[in-house]
Subunit: 253 residues, 2 copies
């Protein structure tokens, strides 16, 4: 509430889980630490929040330094502050996650061509600090959000096929989807449209290309079906997850 004299001045960082889809896998960007706590280990890109900088700005800066990309989806995830998460100093991490379309990927080694690489989600070495936990939280959030928002489009390049899009859902959700049902569902939303062009690659029928009508917005889909009906009158009168406490289920009491 109020900064007292006995203040705990902590270092605050913004760390970003940068996701992309590459080669049919969900990957994220890691940086090999050059400095000492955990030197040599892979860690999430991030930096300290500067004095006159918004948290979002710090996250965006970290994102751009590593990937060079602009204008990608970025959202605050959760704040990690266990005192033991960082040795010696008290460092609190405001974690973000970002989605980068595969097309923008080449920019990877933009800044310093130091040790930066993409890793598939399931083959992560042992990450620095509590970054493994942050990654887990981010993956869950991403997967959940695919269901009830249009966030998946944020992975897509300017033009893509329906199979491409379906693959994004399959890779993130880690389950197979039915082709016909998927197409019906995604087209019924009316959020993508044919570009008119075709992609012909392998030795098979070419695929229609689509674009996202509104690529800069992420909307909520599932319009809150909620606790059964509401209005209507009859006879003129009727009328993360992430609670504090153990891992993710029951709050401490």
């Amino acid at each position: 509430m109020k900064p007292q004299d006995t203040a705990t001045a902590a270092v605050v960082t913004a760390d970003v889980v940068i996701f992309t889809i590459q080669g049919g896998e969900l990957k994220l960007l890691l940086v090999r630490r050059a400095d000492d706590p955990c030197r040599g280990q892979w860690a999430l890109p991030g930096d300290q929040v500067r004095m006159d900088e918004d948290l979002d700005q710090t996250a965006m800066r970290a994102l751009q330094v590593q990937t060079g990309v602009h204008g990608v989806y970025l959202e605050q995830l959760y704040t990690f502050g266990r005192p033991s998460r960082y040795p010696i100093a008290r460092v609190i991490a405001v974690a973000y996650y970002a989605l980068v379309p595969s097309e923008k990927l080449q920019l990877q080694a933009a800044g310093n061509a130091e040790a930066v690489d993409w890793f598939a989600l399931n083959q992560l070495s042992n990450l620095a600090f509590d970054h493994a936990e942050i990654v887990t939280t981010a993956s869950r959030r991403l997967s959940a959000k695919l269901d009830y928002s249009t966030i998946a489009f944020q992975f897509m390049p300017a033009e893509f096929t329906l199979s491409d899009l379906q693959q994004v859902y399959e890779v993130v959700r880690q389950e197979q989807l039915d082709k016909r049902n998927f197409r019906k569902w995604i087209l019924a939303q009316g959020r993508i449209e044919k570009t008119g062009r075709m992609r012909r690659n392998g030795s098979h029928r070419p695929a229609s290309l689509f674009r996202v009508k509104n690529p800069h917005s992420v909307e909520i889909i599932r319009q809150g079906r909620s606790a059964s009906a509401n209005n209507g009158v009859e006879h003129g009168q009727e009328t993360r997850m992430r609670p504090v406490g153990q891992a993710a289920a029951a709050p401490v009491r």
Copy 2:
């Protein structure tokens, strides 16, 4: 990531939006500030994160100091860190929200009987700092979570009627529900059971009392209907929309 010498040591606080249902209204607890930035204004209860204290602990402490209650639902919400949100110093607020059952309400003026009071959500004076924004974020989260989790039970006393429970949904969601459909829906979940006792108050038929079978857990309901498909699912935790950028819709690019 790493604390540098040019470090930004910020003050970090945990502020809590404490919700309860009282008199058919969704209310939250505010404290009148005694100290100077914004002295005299109403603000969310909160305190600085101490050096060896987890963020969750700070939030719980703030909760207990003001309400005296133990064992209520507490969940991290979002972190607010605009440099301008606090004059002079850089103060970053990790916001939490808590749900307190109406039964525990009397404990209100437990600690210091200073200025502490419950306010209906729609009649808030002008709050200190960016606390109005925090409250808005918390309300949205709460309302969303009612839909896809069993969080509503956290408002309930040990025994309650179905009408009581329905009222919680109606008050938070701000819409009327159909009695028959609500009962069907809530009972079909199998998460509450009759205690066998009745409550008789007004001059009308008495109501059966119910209890929550598993009052300490908050579960996800809506089992991910997702993008059409075959097998079952798991589920994450989650929140709702809040991409970096303009208010709440489109991420900055």
